[in-house]
């Protein structure tokens, strides 16, 4: 097959490219230039593009840069800022996968005549049955590195055109393979955090430069004021730190959690851990990897990139009845449904 490998300049996509070459595919490397502003953790700094280009040279494949920075601003950064302005906490990596890696890049690759796009994600794509024409997305073999959560938006069309060559390997083995091949990225640290937000300024500096951050009132369940926050747009449902406390050193008993953020009223409602717990999770914008589960189907629910899955029953529309109380999921976060290690699909918490 002719395969276009998205090379971020990290070890995972470097090894993904090497494995595809080993398997006999005709491989071309591409690095997406996404974020045009300053970055320290990110996937598109000049140093990372250089690393990707040098690995491609080592592997003897051609390497190109695809400038998708306008689309990244439009489809990832702007919605991220707008969501925070509305008091939600979005996951921009999910938006990037949905709009850039597995849409814009995939379409570009198809247009150029490539049979597939490969990435260095830790998840597995398999045929749904040995003789079937369907595809399933499963958790990666390395439980500590599993990235199936951020890939839940892949539908059958995408799954049929995407390869995840390192998904069946433990991370340690990926690094070992990189070392054996002499790849310069073998010991490169994993990328962390959101690529367009710098460690020094953080979310506050990034959002503060784009939207007004306004002080907010903190109230308890009865509406009594109990404190203030410097920026209501930065508060995430479920957050405990930075909400102030009454007097004296905080004890476990008076720990307070954000239960709701009303940006229009500049108000954060707080409550106890018990108040934070819920037995239902509501989602919107749900997409499915394959067939949609029937109403009443038992599923497992994961509501953060590396959170523990919790059993639930899917009502077939928008509601998950949890088998045990869970903490409120911050609006804007992705909620992903699994059947054991198989990804069923997912949506956005409301």
């Amino acid at each position: 097959m002719r395969v276009l490998v998205a090379m971020s300049g990290g070890v995972d996509s470097s090894v993904a490219a090497a494995l595809l070459i080993e398997a006999g595919h005709k491989v071309t490397g591409v690095t997406m230039k996404l974020w045009g502003g300053p970055s320290d953790s990110g996937c598109c700094s000049v140093a990372d593009v250089d690393d990707a280009a040098r690995v491609a040279q080592q592997l003897g494949i051609s390497h190109h840069v695809a400038n998708f920075s306008a689309e990244f601003d439009r489809d990832v950064v702007d919605p991220y800022v707008a969501a925070h302005a509305a008091g939600r906490t979005p996951n921009p990596c999910v938006a990037c996968n949905r709009h850039l890696k597995f849409d814009r890049l995939l379409r570009r690759a198809e247009q150029m005549g490539f049979d597939a796009v490969a990435t260095g994600h830790y998840a597995k794509i398999e045929r749904s049955a040995p003789d079937g024409d369907g595809w399933v997305l499963r958790r990666g073999a390395d439980p500590a590195k599993d990235q199936s959560y951020v890939l839940h938006m892949l539908g059958q069309r995408e799954l049929s055109r995407v390869l995840l060559p390192v998904g069946h390997l433990p991370k340690a083995e990926v690094r070992a393979r990189a070392g054996e091949l002499g790849l310069r990225t073998a010991a490169k640290p994993d990328s962390q955090d959101v690529c367009f937000i710098s460690r020094s300024g953080g979310r506050e500096a990034f959002l503060g430069a784009r939207i007004p951050l306004r002080p907010g009132r903190v109230v308890d369940g009865e509406g009594h004021p109990v404190g203030t926050v410097p920026a209501v747009e930065l508060v995430t449902v479920g957050q405990r730190r930075g909400l102030g406390h009454t007097t004296g050193p905080p004890t476990r008993a008076d720990r307070r959690y954000a239960l709701g953020v009303d940006v229009a009223a500049a108000t954060v409602t707080v409550g106890s851990l018990e108040d934070l717990m819920t037995s239902t999770v509501e989602v919107t914008g749900v997409t499915w990897c394959g067939a949609r589960p029937a109403p009443g189907s038992p599923v497992e629910v994961q509501s953060s990139a590396h959170g523990a899955p919790v059993g639930a029953v899917w009502d077939g529309v928008a509601t998950l009845a949890m088998s045990a109380p869970v903490r409120l999921v911050a609006p804007g976060q992705s909620v992903v449904l699994y059947d054991r290690d198989r990804v069923l699909g997912g949506g956005i918490a409301t």
């Binding site: 071309t28 230039k33 593009v49 080592q58 051609s62 840069v65 695809a66 002499g182």
Partner: protein, 392 residues
């Protein structure tokens, strides 16, 4: 760390034949330039600033090259300042002139970044003039921004992307009339391979050239300073080049540049006709084969080696990948530090919208271009464009 494992994994298989149509990026070194350089890489050596026989021999080589380059640019030998290339020559022209006499700078929006960024770096009053739809400087707008405060006007002789030749004589007449305190700089980096600078740049006070654009080595260039134009240094040190550019001379490179310029000049008339014929066959062939293909700039106003086309609906980024696979080397726009293509500021300065700018491609021909290169491009490009259009 070794790459041997990776090489064993995938032996590098370059395309059987590379079709090089990117001479505006860099050119192969001419044998004359190589022969002039080799002695200085294989036995002869010397620091031209010293005062012993070894130094004097190197000094002679640099001064002979200076005489040669000065003669072919039509300036006095004392006016030649050897630099590390075109970028430094442009920086020295704009920055050095402004450091000598501070004031406003006027450029076109289609200048090389070596001029645009130097202007921003060395002046606070930067006035930028656009181009018309044919890629020619907007003379009315130029007249409007010239005044007594202007100290430097920089208008490139040949545009690096679209190949248009600017009317330097008319620009110079306007500058003399409207901005009497200004020196006129021309970036002739893309011109030197095609135009006789003794005449084509006769109206400029400062002229930048770069050796690797006309068959010389990379890493060497020159700024020609005519008459009384003042240029203060922007690189400091031992005071070489009459205190205008410090640093030990690149003797081999300077000798190679002079030899390449002589060779380019000696073959200029025949080469221009030969390459223009290839270019016309390429441009006409692609326009005939590819519907809606548009040529940028009037061909009569372009140098022989430039073929700049736009294929509406085709992203040049994707087209370059397909051409790469077929061994065809071309380019599009200008790349930022990461290698990502940015919409061409030249095309935007002409008034094109970003989507049109992003569908453009530059084939640039040169002294090694053959009919077989054109055959290959005519064979490879139309189906690549068709494939991308079909996949939209």
């Amino acid at each position: 760390m070794s790459a041997s494992g990776a090489q064993a994994l995938a032996p590098r298989d370059a395309p059987a034949r590379v079709v090089y149509l990117d001479h505006a990026a860099t050119t192969p070194v001419r044998p004359e330039a190589r022969d002039a350089m080799l002695p200085w890489l294989t036995g002869r050596f010397g620091n031209p600033s010293g005062s012993h026989p070894v130094a004097r021999a190197a000094r002679t080589a640099v001064d002979d090259a200076r005489d040669t380059v000065a003669g072919l640019l039509g300036v006095a030998p004392a006016g030649i300042v050897f630099t590390s290339g075109g970028t430094e020559a442009d920086n020295l022209a704009v920055g050095g002139a402004l450091r000598a006499r501070p004031g406003a700078v006027v450029t076109t929006g289609a200048e090389h970044h070596a001029v645009l960024h130097a202007a921003k770096g060395f002046a606070t009053d930067v006035r930028t003039v656009g181009l018309d739809g044919d890629g020619m400087v907007d003379m009315e707008r130029l007249a409007a921004v010239l005044d007594d405060d202007v100290r430097v006007v920089s208008v490139m002789l040949v545009n690096n992307e679209i190949g248009t030749v600017q009317p330097l004589d008319r620009v110079a007449a306007l500058v003399r009339r409207r901005a009497p305190h200004a020196v006129l700089h021309t970036d002739a980096v893309q011109a030197a391979a095609w135009l006789d600078l003794r005449t084509a740049a006769a109206d400029a006070d400062l002229i930048s050239i770069s050796a690797h654009k006309f068959g010389g080595p990379q890493g060497v260039g020159a700024l020609a300073v005519r008459g009384g134009a003042e240029v203060a240094p922007i690189v400091f040190g031992g005071g070489q080049e009459r205190e205008r550019r410090s640093g030990t001379h690149n003797v081999a490179g300077i000798a190679g540049m002079a030899a390449a310029l002589v060779a380019a000049d000696a073959s200029r008339v025949e080469e221009t006709a030969r390459v223009a014929a290839h270019r016309d066959r390429l441009a006409d062939g692609l326009i005939a084969e590819i519907s809606d293909a548009r040529e940028t700039g009037r061909r009569a106003a372009k140098v022989a080696g430039n073929c700049h086309l736009r294929f509406p609906g085709v992203e040049s980024e994707a087209l370059l990948v397909l051409l790469d696979e077929e061994g065809v080397c071309a380019s599009a726009g200008s790349a930022c530090a990461s290698g990502a293509l940015e919409p061409s500021h030249v095309l935007l300065a002409m008034g094109l919208v970003p989507a049109d700018a992003a569908s453009s491609i530059r084939f640039s021909l040169g002294w090694t271009t053959t009919a077989a290169d054109i055959d290959a491009a005519l064979r490879v490009v139309p189906p690549a464009v068709a494939r991308l259009r079909a996949g939209r």
